[in-house]
């Protein structure tokens, strides 16, 4: 309350954020958005809790193994903050579900682990004109950026072709690190404060302890946004 003031806290309270995925990124992202006091959280996942998830998916505990992630995530987030509304949806994010899942959202957090589905989120964000807070991780490496439709390059401008599916396990701390960057972005966006990672791709190399930032540009031939929007210079 002190940090954001009464007005800031009300902005958070009035917001609805959709979290796509309740895995490595989705766990810390949803927990911190819950305790920040973001008024409505919608979180979607179609998976069950597996023992191998527990090193990084901190929403879940040993006794949750075998349960639906959405059900557990809903309970845990509501426990963390009883004053917010949590809608945990046991659903696959695909072409049929993406628009209804994102319909009420003021912003989308990308906590997915594959690019084809990320491109669906990207298109949904472009269509609705809401930000997409992108994160991706592998091992001790990660990246993040904030996509503002009409103002920044879209995800497909930045990463036009999907990187191969990850074969390396994710370190839990990397999910925490990149997830916290995403939550910081959501927070700044909702409070209209600070400088967003807009038009900038942040790259984290945990092994080297280095953060790099690369400027990204709109691709005039982008499959997702070409002709729909003009970038700010």
């Amino acid at each position: 309350m002190m940090l954001f003031g009464k007005e800031g806290q009300e902005h958070l309270q009035d917001a609805t954020i959709f979290i796509a995925g309740a895995g490595g990124l989705g766990s810390p992202v949803s927990m911190y958005l819950a305790v920040l006091g973001v008024g409505t959280l919608i979180i979607a996942d179609n998976d069950r809790v597996d023992q191998t998830n527990l090193n990084r998916q901190i929403l879940y505990r040993d006794q949750d193994i075998g349960r639906r992630k959405a059900a557990v995530a809903g309970e845990r987030l509501q426990e963390l903050n009883p004053d917010i509304t949590v809608r945990a949806v046991d659903a696959t994010i695909d072409q049929n579900t993406v628009s209804s899942l994102t319909r009420d959202a003021d912003g989308i957090v990308d906590a997915l682990d594959d690019f084809p589905t990320r491109y669906l989120l990207n298109s949904a964000a472009l269509e609705r004109g809401i930000p997409l807070f992108h994160g991706g991780i592998s091992g001790f490496f990660g990246q993040a950026t904030t996509i503002l439709p009409g103002k920044t390059p879209c995800l497909r401008c930045i990463i036009p072709r999907p990187p191969p599916a990850e074969v390396f396990p994710v370190a839990g701390v990397t999910a925490g690190f990149i997830g916290m960057i995403q939550v910081t972005e959501v927070c700044k966006y909702l409070l209209c404060r600070g400088d967003l990672l807009a038009g900038r791709l942040l790259l984290w190399d945990g092994m080297q302890g280095r953060i790099e930032e690369i400027p990204v540009e709109t691709d005039p031939d982008c499959e997702a946004c070409a002709g729909k929007y003009t970038a700010i210079s």
Binding site: G136, F141, P162, E166, L203, M207
Partner: protein
């Protein structure tokens, strides 16, 4: 001329994070990166496909500015340039 090639994340693990290459005048970006990656087959194959082109997800920067990897064969490298090669990652 001396050119610095920087590899990030998984590329850096396989190839070393910073490589100083003694390059011939007029060498293209792609040939320079190939030379820098030539010491490690796994690293090379992670960046280049069977035809020797950059894999389509690879991000290449020249002096902090992104270049289209399709053009990397025709962009010459100059003295003092820094080339950086990044792999975006897909996990979550």
């Amino acid at each position: 001329m001396k050119i610095t090639v920087r590899f990030f994340a998984r590329f850096g693990e396989l190839l070393g994070n910073t490589r100083e290459i003694e390059a011939r005048e007029g060498i293209s970006v792609i040939d320079l990166v190939k030379e820098a990656a030539s010491g490690n087959k796994a690293g090379f194959d992670t960046i280049f496909d069977e035809e020797g082109a950059f894999r389509d997800f690879v991000i290449v920067m020249r002096n902090k500015k992104r270049i289209r990897t399709q053009d990397a064969g025709s962009i010459p490298v100059g003295e003092g340039d820094e080339i950086a090669v990044f792999p975006p990652v897909a996990g979550g």
